[in-house]
């Protein structure tokens, strides 16, 4: 039965009892690693909805039981189209990117601390002031991540509905797979090396104190990590602008505040080091050098091996949308 069913593109089952409906979903779910979605509107659909990975209930004629058992509920069957093609696609893209980005930003930060340990005779002195280390995840880099995860869209609603096959990018694991993860980790490694070693070589035989150098490392890490996010943001609206640039400003303010508390050993360090031309030049070269590989890889892959999503983005930007309002596959689009 399974073999026959998977050979067909559409299978119609009629006169099916509720338990058999659930059995059909289970048949596919247990034998493949595909995601299953079940949509129904009546009480007899409840077991099917619960069996599937994603259950959608229709709130309508036959009462509310299906709705209560489901993950998503809607008013009409046709709303399934935007749910999958638009919101499902956006969620996949956002979640995939955010998970990878979170691993990356924490890895970059921790690796900078790790390289420093090699030069403290392996005692675990933190390169970056302890308060800054705490605030790194909580304040310095959390808000842009959250805002981008909520608001960023790779393609507009009309494009996604016009080209339904763009949904295939999610099915092919294009935004979250092992290769992307490894690439992310390599970028974290490179950027942590740049952030650590450029100041190291510049300040190697100088009078620099631990707190001052720690401030440079903290600020450089935060800027590099946020620049990486900025390069990957697809759609810049005013909220994202405020949060990304605002976070960098907030980091600077925090560094000033932390270094104005006399009890802490770093008292006065940021004022001292920011007065040196060397500090600003180092900040500039660290940010640029860290970003060059990411920029080059992005430029190369987006132009020479473009994914469908990339082509979709270009279509949105460069061609009048009038030409694509009628979709390739005739479907009643949700207006």
């Amino acid at each position: 039965l399974f073999k026959v069913a998977t050979e067909c593109s559409v299978v119609l089952c009629c006169r099916v009892a509720p338990l058999q409906k659930a059995g059909i979903v289970a048949l596919i779910k247990n034998r493949t690693d595909d995601m299953t979605l079940a949509i129904g509107d009546g009480a007899n659909d409840v077991s099917m909805i619960q069996m599937a990975d994603v259950g959608v209930g229709i709130n309508g004629q036959e009462g509310g039981q299906a709705v209560m058992a489901s993950d998503f509920s809607m008013g009409q069957f046709r709303f399934l189209v935007p749910l999958l093609l638009v919101h499902g696609h956006w969620n996949y893209q956002r979640m995939g990117y955010m998970i990878l980005y979170n691993f990356y930003k924490n890895a970059t930060f921790v690796l900078v601390l790790f390289w420093y340990v090699l030069y403290t005779s392996f005692t675990l002195t933190t390169a970056i002031t302890e308060w800054s280390s705490l605030l790194y995840t909580v304040l310095y880099t959390s808000l842009p991540t959250i805002v981008v995860g909520i608001l960023d869209k790779d393609l507009s609603k009309s494009t996604l509905l016009a080209y339904p096959k763009l949904y295939g990018s999610g099915q092919r694991n294009e935004k979250y797979n092992l290769n992307l993860f490894v690439l992310n980790m390599l970028e974290a490694l490179w950027q942590s090396l740049v952030v650590f070693y450029i100041p190291y070589f510049a300040y190697r035989q100088s009078t620099i104190g631990m707190s001052s150098l720690g401030d440079l490392w903290a600020l450089a890490s935060v800027i590099v990590v946020n620049m990486q996010l900025a390069m990957d943001i697809i759609r810049w609206n005013w909220i994202i602008h405020v949060f990304v640039w605002g976070t960098i400003a907030a980091t600077v303010i925090c560094l000033f505040v932390i270094d104005s508390i006399w009890v802490l050993p770093g008292y006065g360090a940021i004022y001292h080091i920011m007065g040196q031309g060397l500090f600003w030049l180092l900040l500039l070269i660290i940010v640029v050098t860290a970003m060059v590989p990411h920029f080059a890889i992005k430029a190369f892959s987006e132009h020479f091996v473009p994914s469908d999503i990339q082509i979709g983005r270009e279509i949105e930007k460069f061609e009048a949308l009038n030409q694509v309002n009628h979709s390739e596959i005739p479907m009643r689009t949700f207006s």
């Binding site: 631990m210 994202i240 031309g277 061609e319």
Partner: protein, 348 residues
């Protein structure tokens, strides 16, 4: 998940609007909740990629050249003396340095390689000295340093906390190990005065080290780690101590000893009379004396100039490489024919 539910509930509302004259349950439309905020959507076109690389190259190469020029203008004399200042007949260097009865005075001769304009900075440089060791860095008490009434606060200062039941001021290993070599200079047989004021940060003198805190019970133990402090001078004026307590970030570091406000000419001879007191022999550390001029970039530092030139050059190369690639394999942007399903069907 939120957006899915929002779509679901708004759809539920509009579905009901078909029924006769009922108040619509559709939530109010707002650009934010419908995620339709106006936004700019930058895309990396060939023009942008090449311009960015060229811009970086054009900015970085001159900065690199300027930095290298500034670094070349700096004149630096570095003289390692810990090996040479131990008499050749001494085999046990550690016992020698710890013996307080032997005079440790040493004379070194330095030659000025190029004209040096004042102010000339005098530093002592230590190699292989881990001032950033975790236990060492924590071994201080900032409250005690600033406030005379908190003289008995010695938490975290182990093992230099108390001596004979009384608290040590300043406590901790950092203060205990203050560098104590001294240098006096002679320039072509004239005495050269060295200005030892204002070598520490003003913020430290004003706010971290109290002007009413005096050293007490300091270096009275069996092991002397470094400098002994004059008990009648308050901590805010003990500048060598303040400089030393700004712990260095890396195991090779310099600390400011003083400034010389005299111009030195090329081929002048500077004679240094130094007291070789500080013990770096038990851990293979090195001591050096450094005289250096400084520019807007600080001391001698070729690395920054070279780094900027390298990155600038790399960006020029990348701009060139990308231009070639764009010329060899051009692609019209936004062309539906490149979508994977269109491409595959065309390929057949």
């Amino acid at each position: 998940m939120n957006s899915g539910d929002a779509a679901g509930s708004s759809s539920g509302g509009s579905g009901d609007a078909g029924a006769p004259r009922r108040a619509s349950r559709k939530p109010k439309y707002s650009k934010f909740t419908q995620q339709e905020l106006p936004a700019c959507k930058p895309i990396l076109t060939p023009k942008w990629v090449i311009s960015v690389f060229l811009l970086v190259g054009v900015i970085f190469v001159p900065i690199g050249v300027a930095s290298l020029l500034a670094s070349n203008k700096v004149v630096e004399i570095v003289d390692r003396y810990d090996d040479a200042c131990v008499p050749s007949n001494v085999t046990n260097k550690l016992a020698y340095i710890q013996n307080s009865t032997i005079s440790k005075t040493c004379r070194r001769t330095l030659k000025v390689p190029k004209d040096m304009k004042q102010p000339i900075f005098v530093y002592y440089q230590l190699n292989n000295f881990y001032q950033n060791h975790r236990r060492y860095v924590k071994s201080r008490n900032d409250q005690q340093l600033r406030d005379a009434s908190k003289a008995n606060e010695t938490t975290l200062c182990d093992p230099e906390k108390t001596r004979d039941g009384m608290a040590i001021v300043p406590c901790g290993l950092i203060a205990w190990s203050t560098f104590n070599d001294t240098y006096t200079f002679q320039h072509n047989t004239n005495n050269l005065s060295i200005d030892k004021t204002d070598i520490s940060w003003k913020s430290d003198r004003d706010h971290k080290f109290g002007s009413d805190v005096f050293p007490k019970n300091f270096q009275k133990g069996p092991l002397i780690g470094g400098k002994t402090l004059n008990e009648s001078i308050p901590l805010s004026e003990q500048e060598d101590l303040i400089v030393w307590m700004r712990t260095a970030a890396l195991p090779t570091f310099r600390k400011l000893y003083g400034r010389i406000y005299v111009d030195l000419k090329e081929n002048d001879t500077i004679t240094v009379t130094l007291d070789n007191n500080y013990n770096t022999y038990s851990f293979d550390g090195k001591k050096s004396l450094v005289l250096s001029t400084s520019t807007w970039l600080g001391g001698k530092n070729d690395f920054l100039g070279l780094a900027y030139l390298t990155v600038g050059g790399l960006c020029f190369f990348l701009a060139f490489a990308f231009t070639l690639l764009y010329l060899i394999k051009p692609r019209k942007l936004g062309d539906n024919n490149y979508l994977s399903w269109n491409r595959n069907s065309a390929g057949h």
